[in-house]
């Protein structure tokens, strides 16, 4: 498989192309969100409020009558604000521009020209799902501020709007992914088995156990137990988040890119256009490697570089496969970058062992026609595939030890935070110099041959 239209049947879900015209016909006048959306919005806001209210309530029984008055006033206020916000929020699609007006005191109007739309996603948190609602999230290339979130519409309407907008943006109906287009699916068993083996879960758990045991033996009492309990709680929420967001995760290949679906309580449906992928990473944590599992992550085009670049960039990462056998992960990667996904790379010269004794066995690098592939890592293996057409800058670094060993590192920086991009570590100086001489030209050629920029305007 390669970049571009799906090899399989487009299965256009029985929609005639002419329906593109009337798909947004009803949206040119102003619309409100679904009347129940304040309930969902408030539901999220009410949870912390309820906790705050419940604590004195439980501790005092139902004694103080002023307290209950204050409580009901607070709840009432929340309801009124929610309703008012719903009243002043409206949206429409007119002349190729999606417009959202909101805000009770501070009016905020967001206008998003459909030509600048990067992706249109459906998000359904748990409460919204219960009420049959869904959020349509329209992302622009720029900052978060430019995104339009229509929260919430009736689920059917949301899907209809999503399809209609996609049709306007892409000039054709979105293809629904059939079983034949499915690339990978996360099995629940593997998800459950792999989660405790993640570093972020495993190490805090072990630390909590250690704290607990240590506290018991030295009879430090409450202190260490409290620390252990806090850690267990933190780990518990981490596990819950991983499980609920990655449950039923599946990736399919469509004409518009990769279709990503999943979620346990809340669900999401997203389409990732392939031209937005700046770099691919295959992550293999130490404890997953015996089982041959891997994770696939894509770095996705962000907007302009800002002062808070690193924070913004962290939100520009898409997990494509949370956990799957390496072969499945490589198959998904192959559908994005072609045979580069299976490049094995070559090791640095063995003298580099002196500089990088632990990571040396994992270090690999290879330069292909249109991609650069590198593998780094001491314990977890991180394989990065960067399309040369997306390289932002090329850097050569040679430290004092490297100079003695006659090796050097060449970095290919991709858009995003500091970690993105490929690091061709500890290559022999000759090879590194050769890379540095050839890469700028290769990247320039790749940029010219690949159409870049946002999705083509219809």
């Amino acid at each position: 498989m390669s970049i571009g239209p799906t090899g399989g049947s487009p299965n256009a879900s029985g929609m005639a192309p002419s329906s593109t015209e009337d798909s947004t016909a009803g949206w040119e006048s102003w619309h409100r969100l679904h009347p129940l959306s304040p309930v969902v919005q408030a539901g999220r806001r009410l949870v912390p409020l309820a906790v705050v209210l419940a604590v004195p309530f439980l501790s005092r029984g139902s004694s103080g009558k002023y307290q209950s008055l204050v409580d009901s006033a607070l709840v009432g206020l929340a309801v009124v604000i929610g309703a008012a916000e719903w009243l002043v929020t409206r949206w429409r699609v007119q002349a190729g521009v999606l417009r959202l007006e909101t805000g009770l005191l501070r009016r905020r109007t967001t206008q998003l020209p459909l030509s600048r739309v990067q992706s249109i996603d459906l998000v359904r948190p748990g409460t919204a799902r219960v009420l049959g609602l869904a959020e349509v999230r329209v992302r622009s290339g720029g900052s978060r501020e430019g995104d339009v979130r229509l929260a919430y519409l009736a689920a059917e309407r949301a899907e209809h709007l999503r399809d209609g907008l996609l049709a306007l943006v892409r000039g054709h109906r979105p293809t629904l992914a059939g079983a034949e287009n499915q690339l990978a699916r996360v099995s629940t068993g593997r998800l459950l088995a792999s989660t405790p083996l993640r570093g972020v879960i495993l190490w805090p758990t072990l630390a909590a156990v250690a704290f607990f045991v240590w506290g018991r033996h030295l009879s430090l009492g409450a202190g260490s137990v409290a620390v252990a309990t806090t850690m267990v709680l933190a780990v518990g929420t981490g596990v819950a988040r991983i499980l609920s967001s990655q449950y039923g995760f599946e990736v399919a290949h469509t004409r518009d890119g990769l279709l990503i679906r999943g979620g346990a309580v809340g669900t999401f449906t997203e389409t990732l256009a392939l031209h937005r992928v700046q770099a691919l990473r295959v992550v293999e944590p130490l404890l997953w490697r015996p089982f041959g599992w891997a994770k696939l992550v894509a770095d996705v085009a962000g907007g302009q570089r800002r002062g808070d670049e690193d924070r913004a960039a962290s939100g520009r990462i898409r997990t494509l496969v949370p956990v799957a056998p390496r072969a499945d992960v490589l198959r998904v990667a192959e559908s994005i970058v072609g045979p580069a996904a299976r490049a094995v790379g070559t090791s640095p010269p063995s003298r580099a062992r002196l500089k990088a004794p632990i990571s040396y066995p994992l270090l690999r690098a290879e330069l292909l026609d249109d991609y650069a592939v590198s593998a780094v890592g001491r314990f977890r293996r991180l394989t990065t595939i960067v399309p040369l057409s997306k390289v932002q800058s090329v850097r050569w670094v040679q430290g004092p030890v490297q100079r003695r060993l006659d090796v050097a590192t060449v970095h290919l920086d991709a858009a995003g935070g500091r970690g993105t991009g490929a690091a061709l570590r500890d290559r022999s100086t000759d090879e590194a110099q050769e890379l540095l001489r050839r890469l700028p030209g290769l990247c320039a050629a790749a940029r010219r041959s690949v159409p870049v920029g946002p999705a083509p305007v219809p």
Partner: protein
């Protein structure tokens, strides 16, 4: 640039000298050690700063800009003009007092490391304008 770094190291050495001098009233040995350390810092610093200064360099090529720096860690960055998102000229108080400025290139990647410090202010402005023109001529998307 050279002057600036020398100034910083000079200030550090003077501070050490002062502390050492003050301490020598109470603890002669420690004070003497600090004074000697200050002199060594100043001497080594001047040599190191000179090498560091000479290591900075940039070259405007047809399609990209090369920026070189570093003595211990040699670094060379290649930034295509088409990838530049912003060109930034900054001048801190010290730099301003010496009539210097720093030109920094930003791309969509936070890892891009292309900073050219210690340019004459007019040279910095010229370089910035040239880079912006070249960036526009080569403009590309992400």
């Amino acid at each position: 640039m050279l002057t600036l770094r020398r100034g910083q190291i000079g200030a550090g050495a003077i501070a050490l000298l002062l502390v050492g001098g003050a301490l020598s009233f109470t603890n002669l040995a420690l004070g003497a050690v600090l004074v000697v350390a200050a002199l060594m810092v100043a001497g080594l610093g001047l040599v190191y700063v000179g090498r560091r200064f000479r290591s900075w360099g940039y070259l405007e090529r047809v399609e990209d800009l090369l920026v070189r720096r570093g003595v211990m860690f040699e670094r060379l960055s290649v930034v295509p003009y088409g990838r530049m998102q912003t060109v930034e000229v900054t001048a801190g108080p010290l730099e301003r007092s010496l009539g210097l400025a720093t030109v920094q290139l930003h791309t969509a990647s936070a890892a891009t490391d292309a900073r050219i410090p210690g340019l004459d202010r007019s040279a910095a402005a010229d370089l910035r304008d040239r880079l912006v023109r070249r960036g526009e001529a080569n403009a590309e998307g992400l």
